[in-house]
């Protein structure tokens, strides 16, 4: 018989019942003696005297419901933060295939061919469309496998059928997260530079949390706001040096700034919209519909339009079946897919603001992975930014979870 924290050995309970022991407070001395006896008889972690008294009153089980509920809530919040942290890791990992794919056939040849006719900026955006379309396709494949493993095809079909109340939110999220945010990010990258695009993208939790607060009253504490703010500052510090270099390089076309705005607003709005849909849908099913929407946008609308405009979309698309290119695209699909799975799973547990804030650590993770795999040595501003990101995360992780039992008021 083992003495658990919450359970008293049944033989002691039976023994007390047989003896018809009075366990009221006036016999405290007897209870104390019984407690000592129980401690001697029991093994492991014995309960305190107060708990012991409570155990006796409850017929053998110590039930401190308040503590149990608090622990359960803490576990739920930790799980939400864990999902958001995984999102940052997968997103950071995605930058490896996301960077490599640009130098692989057919995308490098496509970039060179279009740049010759339409200029570097336009070539970057058009090539990015095809890469993003393939990325969406491999994400969709990864998500179908994921849903199959979880046995959620049924739920996926049921959620898809409910267009008006539910799946419309995920299709709307795909417009903001797909063509608006991703294309905006590539426009910023093409017309200003990669560092500017990264910093612009890192501002998305600010927009996401403000929207979620004003749109459907998602609670956001001062501590969470401070944490998100410090993580954003960390991100800006990571890419700040690059931004200054890019901005001081001369004439900056307005379309580059527009691209940056599209990235921040697109991902922020996507999160807020997804949060609305996730009220009444399972994250795995909802997310798959979001990528179904994105695939339709790229493959049915944008790629054909660019082909009609004279860009060689299909001729390069059919050249993608090279083993290395396919391998990199699959790696991109898996990392991006699971980055989104974990992102969406965090929202119902910790809210859009916190989920996006921690997800923002992707900027720091990307620097680490790029350093590990490509050997690009980080500068001191990057290390400072990383430290700020870690401080911001700790401020959020250590928040009192009792206020997060529900993310909204009634």
């Amino acid at each position: 018989m083992i003495f658990g924290t919450h359970f008293l050995p049944q033989f002691i309970v039976q023994f007390l019942r047989i003896l018809d022991v009075d366990i009221s407070k006036k016999y405290l001395a007897d209870i104390r003696r019984l407690h000592l006896l129980a401690v001697e008889l029991g093994l492991g972690d014995p309960p305190s005297l107060r708990e012991f008294h409570s155990i006796l009153k409850n017929g053998g089980t110590f039930v401190d419901l308040k503590t149990l509920k608090k622990q359960e809530n803490k576990r739920k919040i930790s799980k939400g933060y864990m999902w958001a942290l995984f999102c940052a890791v997968f997103w950071g990992l995605w930058y490896l295939p996301g960077t490599v794919v640009w130098v692989l056939n057919p995308f490098d040849e496509m970039y060179a061919a279009i740049a010759k006719a339409s200029g570097d900026g336009m070539s970057l955006v058009v090539t990015a469309v095809l890469i993003t379309a393939f990325n969406a396709l491999t994400v969709m494949l990864a998500l179908m496998v994921w849903n199959g493993v979880l046995g959620k095809y049924g739920e996926l079909g049921r959620t898809l059928r409910e267009f008006h109340p539910c799946s419309k939110w995920f299709f709307l999220a795909s417009i903001f997260g797909g063509p608006i945010a991703i294309l905006g990010s590539f426009i910023a990258m093409g017309f200003i530079g990669g560092a500017f695009a990264a910093v612009a993208g890192l501002l998305y939790p600010v927009i996401g949390s403000i929207l979620a607060y004003y749109w459907y009253g998602e609670k956001i504490s001062k501590r969470a706001i401070i944490g998100i703010g410090i993580i954003v500052l960390g991100g800006i510090s990571i890419y700040g040096g690059g931004v200054l270099t890019e901005l001081s390089s001369g004439n900056i076309p307005w379309i580059g700034y527009l691209g940056g705005l599209m990235a921040a607003a697109g991902w922020g709005i996507e999160g807020a919209i997804a949060g609305k849909g996730l009220d009444i849908a399972e994250p795995d099913a909802g997310l798959t519909l979001r990528f179904l929407g994105e695939n339709i946008i790229w493959w049915v609308i944008i790629v054909p339009i660019l082909a009609i405009l004279g860009f060689p979309m299909y001729s390069f698309a059919f050249q993608v079946f090279e083993p290395l290119t396919l391998l990199v695209l699959v790696f991109a699909g898996i990392t991006f897919g699971f980055c989104y799975v974990t992102w969406y799973k965090s929202f119902p547990l910790i809210g859009v603001g916190r989920g996006q804030g921690i997800g923002n650590l992707y900027g720091f993770c990307a620097v680490i992975f790029i350093f590990l795999f490509f050997g690009d040595m980080p500068e001191w501003t990057i290390i400072l930014g990383g430290l700020l990101c870690i401080i911001g995360s700790f401020i959020m992780f250590t928040e009192d979870t009792s206020a997060l039992e529900t993310l909204r008021g009634e």
Binding site: G154, R158, L407, R408, E410
Partner: protein, 98 residues
């Protein structure tokens, strides 16, 4: 039931009677209706309830320890009621065709 709705819709639908329900009652009903009798199915449905409560659509009124193993021995059981916000969201989502 002619055509099944997404599980969270159905959970809200069950709470729309305005009564208080324990999570194990809802879980076992959904398990039956959606043929999800495995432990994984049970936990997955319960997690949907947790997400609905976290989103402010259900209010956690009471808890007790599952001593008999009606849901999962030693775990905390919860009794919920739908909130006003839950009724609004459920009305948007669930009342079609009722």
């Amino acid at each position: 039931m002619s055509q099944r709705r997404p599980i969270k819709f159905r959970i809200l639908e069950l709470f729309l009677d305005g009564k208080e329900h324990w999570n194990y009652e809802i879980v076992s009903k959904i398990q039956e209706e959606y043929d999800m009798k495995s432990d994984y199915g049970r936990d997955s449905i319960n997690f949907d309830i947790i997400e609905l409560a976290s989103g402010g659509m259900l209010k956690d009124l009471e808890q007790k320890v599952d001593e008999s193993g009606i849901y999962k021995k030693g775990f905390l059981l919860h009794r919920y009621r739908i909130t006003d916000f839950g009724i609004t969201r459920a009305s948007d989502a669930c009342l079609r065709g009722l």
